[in-house]
Amino acid sequence: MAARTQVERSRLLAQRWRGLFYLLVGLAILVFFTSETCPDQIATLGLNTTRSVQWVRLPDLVVPVVPAVWVLAAIVLALGMRDLVRPFRRGGWLLGIASFCFLAAFLVWAARGTSFSLIGILSASLQLATPILLGALAAILCERSAVINIAVEGMMLSAAFTSVLVANLTGNIMLGFVAAMATGALLAAWHAVLSIQFKVNQIISGTVINIFAIGMTNFLNQRLMQEYTDLNNEVTFPYLSQMFPDLGKIPIVGPLLFDQSPIVWLALILLIVIQVALFHTRWGLRTRAVGEHPRAADTLGIDVFRTRYINVILGGVVAGIAGAYFTLGSVGRFDKLMTSGRGFIAMAAMIFGNWTPIGALASSLIFGFADALQVKLQILIGQVNIPYEFLLMLPYIVTMIALAGVVGRVQMPAADGQPYEKQ
């Protein structure tokens, strides 16, 4: 057998390091998450929601802390050992299982001696994932036709503002929702004109929108809402479980899926629609063609500019829905800068998900979970000795790590970011 090439050799070496890494992770689980525990401590993981009454009250999951941590650590140690000796082909599964074990051990340890609602954190994950998912879908619609859109943040913020303003002005929540979509569409149109017509660098034109959005929302918030506080009254859509009480009573699924704003469901439906449309309809084929090789599409008679305009504006509409979620789907009122960087996290979710809706779902759930975790950990603050500000940093740091880990292994639309020149 011929000697291995240098490249092959370095790849094998990297894999050995990987096995070692997971061994260390397993050891870390064992060491850190058995510290400060008593041997017979238990963690109680609630499977019921406190919000509504359920048909069947499920018993709480009572987990003996130390044995559980041992089991989880053992799983990771075993995987690490196997990887060291005979490396796995697909590293992705390994990362997923190890991450799950680490997180589970962490949760169990953090909840030692007390209880916390497992259902609660999962439900919160979905809630916090929704605006990121919608933002990512909006960005995907734009980027699949090769227009970079970093203005999702600004579109979301502006839409959040107008949704509350219009809903209170007209007394009609649906009009507020429509206003949010219209705001997103208008800002998207502005971005489209700047980047498609005037061929402005797309990151700059996105920044224009973002800065404008911050300025406009703060400006109008102060001018209008602080003077006429009625314009900022709480307006929200009722949760599905409030509209159809029976749905909320189903154990596990009830609190998880139905104790949510209808916008969450809208997001999931949009996800499926966009996924199918992108890969199985004529619009999707043409959009992707324009994003990969606009000149080829042009030679086949497809209007590159029109396709891009439509996609960017559609993306704006979805971003508008995301904005409406912050207000009409959540707290009901507008606060300055309330999107706090979720738009940028949504873009990272899009990259992490390889520019597909399904991928975006996976990554936004991960980010949502990180977000929910940080909220829950603030409650368990006594058990986890980390200042809460560091917990607040968690979603942002997770984003940076995810981005660093995934770049190079994902494939963006080939013409992404390049204005199209017709000759």
């Binding site: 004529r282 063609a289 042009d298 086949l300 000759q423």
Partner: protein, 504 residues
């Protein structure tokens, strides 16, 4: 019967250049009409007008005897006109089916794509015209020849009967060219009419029924192969006697400058592109690497210049191991690199000429002392070199983007040839240049050789290799097929090697 296509008085102006000047051209039904001219003669512009990508300033187009206006490619397609571009208009991450159906999608249940129906029709057309294509393959996995077949298929799918082929043989081996000619003849037998754009005299003589020569945007003449000769065509193309070979002394090779030993190089997707190549280049000789583009030459040059990591093997320059050297280290070892893509890799178009002339030397004395750049020296050296190499530019502060292709290449040559170099790696140094610039560059390369430099010339143009190289290496699928002295090389022999056919 009227000609199936007639272009009457077509004129097209771009800022600063008259691309097409009252061009008249007819195409008979079932004819193969070649459009011959050198780079920049206006051939592609004319065809883009026919295909609706450009709009003519003057003139009319008649299809099947009726005057038409072609404003978009869709209209051209509807009139039965199809174009296979020089650079393929295929989407690599789509399948053959998806590329073919794009713009003419067959739908099922109203809105969903019907890939199966399209694939079936593709198979029918394949069988009918003898075009071997797998509808479910991804374009990025197909060979260049296969991709070209997909392009032709796209047109036939749309029931075109006027086919425009723009430089279709640029990326084919001589054997693949024969295959293409067979396909063309079979299409013509079924009533398709073809316009064949090329700058290659011999091919045009072989395939065309009629030949129209374009020069500087004007029609110089229309003739038939039987009534003309390659020399006559060349004269029409260029307007003067063309020396088809370079005047050079025999080589006097000295010491070994570049030693490549069992080189293996992978591409970005970890596929092997160079597998086990070994050769040497001596001072005072030109080693030409022939081969159809895409057989590993690009990756070889990148590996030698430090731009791509070497998976296995060794590279030695003047005794120094440069296998793991950085690009800067390679340059400092006395290597000059004329890159394949001059605008992307060789120049910074938004920088002035003076800056471009020191692009890889700005940090060395006398241009810099420590961290400070000595502008006066930079400007003085630039002025001197612009004169020495006859670079046509208003000033050394003009941005490189304002220069013509030939002058841009001269900037790169001026930069590289005035460094203390022992090895010159030139990759497609005359691509897209006019004849005058080509002659100039060829002369300077031979001069370098005569001054004791080792030259590695990589070119897909057989004529260039045959006229310049002292020894010739043929690459195919990342391997060396053979190394022969120029005296033993003929186009036929090289063609076979380029297609992977070893002798004996």
């Amino acid at each position: 019967m009227p000609p199936i296509l007639e272009l009457d008085g077509i004129t097209k102006r771009f800022p600063g250049v008259l691309a097409n000047d009252h061009i008249h051209l007819t195409l008979e039904q079932g004819e193969i009409h070649a459009l011959l001219g050198e780079n920049g003669a206006g051939k592609t512009t004319l065809m883009n007008i026919l295909y609706g990508l450009y709009h003519p300033d003057e003139g009319r187009i008649l299809v099947r005897g009726k005057e038409v206006k072609i404003d978009t490619p869709s209209q051209a397609i509807r009139l039965g006109i199809g174009m296979v571009h020089q650079h393929f208009m295929l989407i690599p991450v789509f399948t053959v089916t998806e590329n073919v159906m794009l713009g003419e999608e067959t739908l099922t249940r109203g809105i969903f794509l019907d890939r199966a129906a399209v694939a079936a029709r593709i198979r029918d057309i394949s069988a009918q015209y003898g075009l071997q294509v797998d509808p479910d393959a991804y374009i990025k996995d197909l060979s260049v020849g296969a991709q070209q077949r997909v392009e032709i298929l796209k047109i036939l799918y749309r029931r075109a009967d006027i086919l425009i082929l723009d430089e279709p043989t640029a990326v084919l081996t001589p054997q693949e060219v024969e295959e293409l000619f067979k396909v063309i003849r079979s299409l013509v037998a079924r009533g398709v009419s073809i316009i064949f754009i090329s700058h290659k005299l011999k091919e045009v003589m072989a395939i065309a029924d009629r030949i129209t020569v374009l020069r500087d945007g004007r029609v110089v003449g229309t003739t038939r192969p039987a009534e003309t000769s390659p020399a006559a065509l060349a004269r029409m193309m260029v307007g003067r006697e063309v020396i088809l070979t370079v005047d050079k002394q025999p080589a006097r090779p000295g010491e070994v400058v570049l030693d490549v030993n069992d080189l293996h190089v992978l591409d970005d997707r970890q596929q092997t592109r160079v597998s086990g190549i070994s050769f040497q280049v001596r001072a005072g000789e030109i080693l030409g690497i022939a081969g159809v583009q895409g057989n590993g030459q690009t990756e070889l040059v990148e590996a030698l210049t430090g731009l791509r990591p070497i998976a296995r093997g060794r590279v030695t320059i003047l005794g120094n191991d440069t296998t793991r050297a950085t690009p800067r280290h390679v340059l400092q070892s006395g290597v000059a690199h004329i890159p394949e893509d001059r605008q992307r890799d060789g120049l910074v178009l938004t920088f002035p000429v003076a800056d471009n002339l020191v692009l890889n030397m700005y940090y060395l004395p006398p241009f810099a002392r420590g961290i400070r750049i000595d502008e006066r020296t930079v400007f003085a050296s630039a002025t001197q070199r612009v004169q020495q190499f006859d670079i046509r530019t208003p000033s050394i502060h003009t941005l490189a983007s304002s220069l013509s292709g030939g002058n841009q290449q001269k900037v790169i040559v001026a930069r590289e040839f005035t460094r203390p170099i022992r090895l010159l790696i030139a990759s497609q140094p005359t691509r897209g240049l006019d004849v005058g610039s080509i002659e100039y560059i060829h002369q300077r390369i031979v001069e370098m050789r005569d001054q004791g430099c080792a030259v590695l010339l990589v070119s897909p143009e057989l004529d260039e290799i045959l006229s310049l190289a002292d020894r010739i290496v043929v690459m195919y699928h990342g391997k060396i097929m053979d190394i022969l002295p120029a005296s033993q090389a003929t186009p036929e022999k090289l063609g076979l090697l380029m297609a992977g056919v070893r002798e004996g």
